[in-house]
C-alpha cells in the first residue's frame, strides 16, 4: 500500500543525503520525494511517498525517527490531508489539435505556460492521480518531455469550534 510520510528535518548540510541513504541501504522503496523549507528556515519538510506492507512502513517510520536530524515523522496515510503535485508537460501539437489540447488543459484546470512551433507546455497541479489522468489523456498527442515535482502534503487543519477556543489554545 502507498503511504505518504511527512518528515520534518533539520535544514542542514547532508540531511537530505542521510534520509536518501537510509532508504537505499535498508532497501525501502521511494515513489516520490520532495523537500523544501518550512515556515521556519532552519527546518525542512520532506514528503516521501513510499510503498510496502505494514511491517515495512513501520520500519520506515522508525528508521526515519532514528536519524539524528529528524525532528518529526508523520504518516499522513489514512489521515485527512491535502496532497498536491505539480507537473510540467510538454506536448506536441498539430495545426488541427491545438485548441483540443488547450481544452484538455482547462478541464484539468491547468495553464499553458509555454508554446513554440511544435509544442505546448502545460502546468497542471493536483493530487498525483489527477496528474496521472492528465498524462493519460495527453499521451496520444505525444509527450515530448515531462517534469513532476513529487507529492507535497499537509495534514488538514482541525476545525476549531469557536474563536474563543482558538485563542486559549
Amino acid at each position: 500500500m502507498k503511504h505518504t510520510i511527512s518528515v520534518l528535518v533539520e535544514n542542514q548540510f547532508g540531511t537530505f543525503n542521510r534520509v536518501v541513504t537510509m532508504f537505499s541501504s535498508k532497501g525501502f522503496n521511494v515513489n516520490s520525494l520532495s523537500i523544501g523549507e518550512t515556515e521556519t528556515s532552519e527546518i525542512s519538510r520532506m514528503t516521501i511517498v513510499t510503498e510496502g506492507e505494514d511491517k515495512i512502513i513501520e520500519q520506515v517510520v522508525k528508521q526515519l525517527n532514528r536519524l539524528i536530524d529528524t525532528i518529526k515523522v508523520i504518516d499522513l496515510t489514512g489521515q485527512s490531508r491535502v496532497e498536491r503535485e505539480l507537473a510540467l508537460i510538454s506536448v506536441y501539437y498539430q495545426k488541427g489539435n491545438r485548441a483540443e489540447i488547450t481544452n484538455v488543459c482547462s478541464i484539468f484546470r491547468g495553464n499553458i505556460v509555454d508554446i513554440n512551433n511544435k509544442t505546448l507546455t502545460l502546468e497542471i497541479t493536483g493530487p498525483p492521480d489527477k496528474i496521472d489522468a492528465a498524462v493519460n489523456v495527453l499521451e496520444p498527442y505525444g509527450i515530448k518531455e515531462m517534469a513532476r515535482s513529487g507529492t507535497v502534503a499537509l495534514k488538514r487543519g482541525e476545525q476549531l469550534s469557536s474563536k474563543k477556543e482558538s485563542l486559549t489554545t
Binding site: 547532508g14 543525503n17 537510509m22 528508521q63 532514528r66 539524528i68 525532528i71
Partner: protein, 572 residues
Amino acid sequence: MKEQKPILSGAEIFFECLRREKVEIVFGYPGGAVLKLYEKLYDVDFLKHILVRHEQGATHMAEGYAKASGKTGVVLVTSGPGATNTVTGIADAYMDSVPIVVFTGQVPTHLIGNDAFQEADIVGITRPITKHSFLVRNIDELASTIKKAFYIASTGRPGPVLVDLPKDVINSVCEFEYPEKVELRGYKPTLLGHQNQIKKAADIIKNAKRLLFYVGGGVIMSGGHRELKLLAKENNIPVTMTLQGLGAFPMNEPQSLGMLGMHGTYWANQAVNNCDVLVSLGARFDDRVTGKVDAFATNAYKIHVDIDPTCIDKNVVVDLPIVGDVKHILAELAAEITSPPDFDDWWSQIQKWKEECPLHYEKHDGKLRTEYVLDCLNEFTKGEAVIVTDVGQHQMWTAQYYKFNHPRSHITSGGLGTMGFSVPASIGAAFAIKDRPVISISGDGGFQMNIQELVTAVYNKLPIKFIIINNSFLGMVRQWQELFHAEKYSFTDLGDSNPDFCKLGEAFGMKSFSTNKPEDVNPIFEEAFSINDGPVLIEFKVEKEDMVFPIIPSGATLKEMMTKRLDPKEMV
C-alpha cells in the same frame, strides 16, 4: 566587564574539547591533512596518543578500548586513504553498537569536490555505517560539533560518529567556548520504560511456567548486569546469552544456560523453543540467533526490552515491547516481582536436555584440540581474563567453552564478523584493563589480517597473550564447505602458505611458543603468563579438520541441529 573568551586555533580547540570530554587515549596515524593537529599534539600531555600501523587497526583498538572500559574510543586519522582505511572498523562498531568517535582530516574546504590530493568523501562513504556524521565547515561550529559527536556516540544505542575536519578549518582561529550541554531536538533517547508495559511484563513473568531470559549486549552497555544477576538469581530464572551478551550474567551460576543460536548449546536452544515466556533484554533477534524466524520460540509470549525502537518487531514480531534503558527496566521489574515463581519442573526439563546432549569433544586420542586449549585457559585464568576473539571456529569454541563471569570480558566482532579484529581490539582493551590478563585469540587466517599491529603491542609493552589457533585452514569456511558445499575445499587450505608464526613473533620482538601436544598447553601458559613486560605469542597447532558442534544450519530450525560429524557408515 564581560568575560573575554580566549581566541584559539582549530587545533587548540580540538584538544581542549578532548580534554573536556575526559579523553585519555587516542589511536591515530598522522598525515598531510592533520599535520596541524599533530603539531599541537606534540605539546599535549593530558592524553596518550597511540601510533598504530594501519588506520583499520586504530578503529578496532578504539572499539576494544570502548568495549573493555565502557568509555568512548577515539580515532584520529588523515584524509583520503587514512579515512577510507577506517571504514571496516566503523562498520564493525555500527553493527555491534560500540561508541567510538572517528576524526578524519579533510582537504581544505575550497578544494572539496576537486579531486584534490588525498581527498575522499568520507562522510558520504560512511553515511550508512555511522550513527551520525559531521563535516565541520566553519571553525565556529568545531567545539559544539565535537560535543555533539561524543554525546551521540555514547548515549541511547551507542555507535560510531565520524567528524570530518577540513585542513583550513583546523588552521583558522576563533573565540572558544565549550557548550555546557547538548540540545538536539531530533535526538532524545527514551530511557524510562513505559510504566504500564513494565507492570504488564511483571505480571506475565510472575505467571510464567517456563520462563527464559534471552540476554544481549545491551545489558552490558547499559551496565545492567547487577540488576540482571539479582533478578535471575533471586527468582531462579534460566538465562541464555547471545555472543555479545556473554558475561552479562556469570556463566558459573547455575541459572546460566550459555549461548543460544547457531552454535549455541542444545539445552539453551531447546529452552527457547519450549519456553512459554521469552524476555529479550537488549538483544535484537539476529538471524544467527533465530535461525528460521517462523519457527523461533513459537509457543512463547515474547517481551522485548530495547533502547532502539527500530529493533522492535524488525525480525520477530513480539507481544509486549518496552522501549527504554534495560538497566532501569530490570530494576523496575525486580521491584514488581516480589515472590519467586516456581520453575522446578522447567528446570528439571532443562537438566534433561543438558544430559541428553552436552558439549563434548574427543579428549583421549592424544591430539591437540581447540576445545581443550580453551578448557585449560579457563582453568588457568579462573574465568577472570578479558578474552578478545577474532571470527570463525575459535570464536564459537571460545563462546562455548570459556566461562565468562564478568561483563566487558568477552570482546568480539559479532554483527559484522570482521576477521582481523582480535589483534588490534586486544591492544585497545589492554590500554583499558590493567588488573586482569588480556588474551587475544585468532585463527591462522584472521591473525594475518591485522598482523602489523603486533608492533603497536610490542612498542607499548602491553602484556597481551596472542594465541593463534592454527588448523592450517580458514576453518569455519572449510566447515561449511564440508557440510553444505559438496566438500569442495575451495581456497581455504592455508597449510602450504602460512608463515612460521613463531619466527614471525620473534621478529616482532615477542617471546613465542608453539606446540601440537596437549601436554604442553599448561606448561606454556605457566611460562607465558609469567611474562608481564610485553606481549607473547602462542601458536597451538590443532587438529586440522575439526568442526564446531552443535550447529544449526543457516535459516534452519532446531530439528536440523547437527551435534557431531556424521560417520559415513551411518549416512547410508
